[in-house]
Subunit: 72 residues, 2 copies
Amino acid sequence: MPPCSIQNNMRKLRFDHDEMTQQELAKNIGVTRQTIIAIESRKYSPTLELAFKIADVFQVPLEKIFQYKPEK
Amino acid sequence: MPPCSIQNNMRKLRFDHDEMTQQELAKNIGVTRQTIIAIESRKYSPTLELAFKIADVFQVPLEKIFQYKPEK
DNA sequence: ACATAATGTAAAGTATAAATAACATTGTGC
DNA sequence: GCACAATGTTATTTATACTTTACATTATGT
């Protein structure tokens, strides 16, 4: 099913960061693990706040993690 | 009253772009004028999709428009 | 003064992100 | 094999972004 229109490479970033688990990431940015799962699997897009927080954790610019892909 | 934690300089960008009106901007990105008002006045943050679309219209990187300011 | 364009404000409804909880799957090590 | 950690799935609920409508304010021009 066509999830959301925002791509991301959080999985790669987690593993590049000492194989950080979803649980750890969730705790770092103050959300639940389900939210991480949903974003990684593109069930839905994160809010802008969350996107910034995630970029903060990985110390990369937001656009290096999230890319907008218009549906068509 | 500090509503949302995301700052932006959309007003400046609109006027820098030939005084683009809220109505025009709204139409360009496919939302209503109320949404533009709410975001500009920081009643709430845009979704990540919307933030990307706005950056697209003004042809600047997302982070040049929106800055995250953690509440403290 | 009047008309109109641009911006602002507020209420009620819809859509979606995030929380919470319970259970299922996959993988790794012992 | 079993135990446990990490990830995935589903469902229900809460919070919030966005829409729609209607009306108010401010500015500009004739």
